[in-house]
Amino acid sequence: MMAIFQPFFNIISETGRVVQFFFQMLDVWKRKSISRDLMFEQIWKVTVQSSATTALAGFFVGAIMTVQFTMEMKDFGALGYLGGLSTSGTIREVGPLLIAFMLAGKVGAFTSAELGTMRVTEQIDAIRCLGADPIQELVLPRFIAIVISSFFLLGLGLLLSIFGGMLLGKYFSGVNYEEYLRHIPTIVSLPSILSGLFKCFVFAVVLAVICTHRGYSTTGGAKGVGRSVVQTAVSTMVAIVIADWATSLLADIALKIFLRSR
């Protein structure tokens, strides 16, 4: 009977370990300084690694949103709002989610494999033995880089989605560029932008802590590294979807409070 519930117990205990690791990271961050060189190197690596795929995906997200909204809005004669609505949808929901999935698939898996390999080849033990702290040297620069890079990538993805939307808007929906751009500032509100940025931040933190934890706690040689990469991919996707639900709920509550206060 207990065997049926075992996967749930495993999820709960793994979540506990991830949270514990997160607080351990924060504790090291509080006490020790992080090398700027290491951090910028990681930010550069993460951003370069994911720019092309994020740009490509961003372009097609804009294109998809435009095609989808065109079908609905044509009947209401509201095609002029196409740019505003698709951009608002992208910045609030699709953009942060897209960036998180892109980062999870590429940077998350890479980070987990990199740290996992360092663990099984005893490089992490060596760092400890040589008087340094592996969380300070390896984990925190990667964690911070993923969080900071996610904002760059969100901006890039958003720009390309607007560009993709404009092109499709012109050649598929018959909305010219000026028309497409005109309503973006009126429809994309400050709460939408804040909500998108908040989601982007939360997803990046969730992703960064899971992939660094999985890599850092790898056991079992090359097979263990493979297992860590798969677990990172699965856990981050599931955790990001759950975080999306939680942040949507929070953003909705915050928006209601904001509107009531005006």
Binding site: T121, E122, Q123, D125, A126, R128, C129, L130, G131, A132
Partner: protein, 259 residues
């Protein structure tokens, strides 16, 4: 009375539900040179990592120079750890750093030396282990023997007085193995450090150790000096050092060596 370099009392290690070591009570005195032998997979490397403070025992106490590494932290722990050097089984060299930077890493992390002084120390260590020409090469660009030398140089960079070698001759040909052991002995003669080394090569163990321990059946057996080990009455030790195929280690019910 001087503190023992290392003291293990009633140490037990359980890993993923399996007991790896139990009832381990050992003392390493300052200046000792101990070789740990034993069949593969018996926990020799785990024992070494416990002594180096890299693995915490499930039960029992590990004292390094009188300090319990699992109970101290911050500067106090750092002070003890900085006096420990370790060569890992697969060298654990940082593959993103050059050979020179591998040696410079602990110096940059722990000491207050400026870059010029660090480069001077790096050059001295590279020369001491005979790989000065490899300073700007990356670890994967040098041979296995040179990687071992680099690992030794990095382990000694902070001038530790307690050095652990995890299978320092693993995967090396007999001549290179001999050179590595000669290098370890030469460096030991220079700094009089306490040495604990894991090895399965009995010739190398005899060459470098003043005492020999054998890890078998989750226990650590103190086999004594080299001469005492050769004459030891324990049949498991005799089988291991002679390499006999038949004996207690290969008995059907033995957990030690079973193919």
């Amino acid at each position: 009375m001087a503190l023992a370099a290392i003291n293990l009392s009633d140490v037990k290690v359980i890993f993923e539900g399996s007991t790896i070591l139990e009832n381990v009570n050992l003392t390493v005195q300052d200046g000792d040179s101990v070789a740990i032998i034993g069949p593969s997979g018996q926990g020799k490397s785990v024992l070494l990592k416990i002594m180096a403070g890299l693995v915490l025992p499930t039960e029992g106490k590990v004292l390094v120079r009188g300090e319990n590494l699992s109970e101290i932290s911050g500067a106090r722990r750092q002070k003890v750890v900085n006096k420990i050097g370790m060569l890992f089984q697969k060298n654990a060299l940082f593959d993103s750093l050059t050979c020179g930077d591998n040696i410079a890493f602990p110096l940059r992390e722990v000491t207050d030396l400026d870059e010029q002084q660090i480069q001077k120390v790096v050059a001295e260590f590279l020369e001491a282990v005979g790989i000065s020409h490899a300073k700007n090469l990356f670890p994967d660009e040098i041979s296995g023997g040179m990687q071992k030398r680099l690992g030794i140089a990095r382990a000694l960079a902070l001038n530790p007085d307690l050095i652990f070698y995890d299978d320092p001759t693993a995967g090396l040909d007999p001549i290179t193995s001999r050179k590595i052991i000669d290098l370890i002995l030469r460096l030991r003669a220079q700094n009089s450090a306490t040495v604990v080394a894991v090895t399965n090569d009995m010739n190398r163990a005899y060459q470098m150790a003043s005492r020999i321990w054998m890890v078998v059946d989750r226990q650590v057996v103190d086999a004594g000096s080299v001469e005492q080990t050769k004459q030891h009455q324990d049949l498991r030790i005799q089988q291991f050092i002679t390499g006999a195929i038949r004996g207690p280690l290969t008995a059907p019910d033995s957990g030690a060596i079973n193919d």
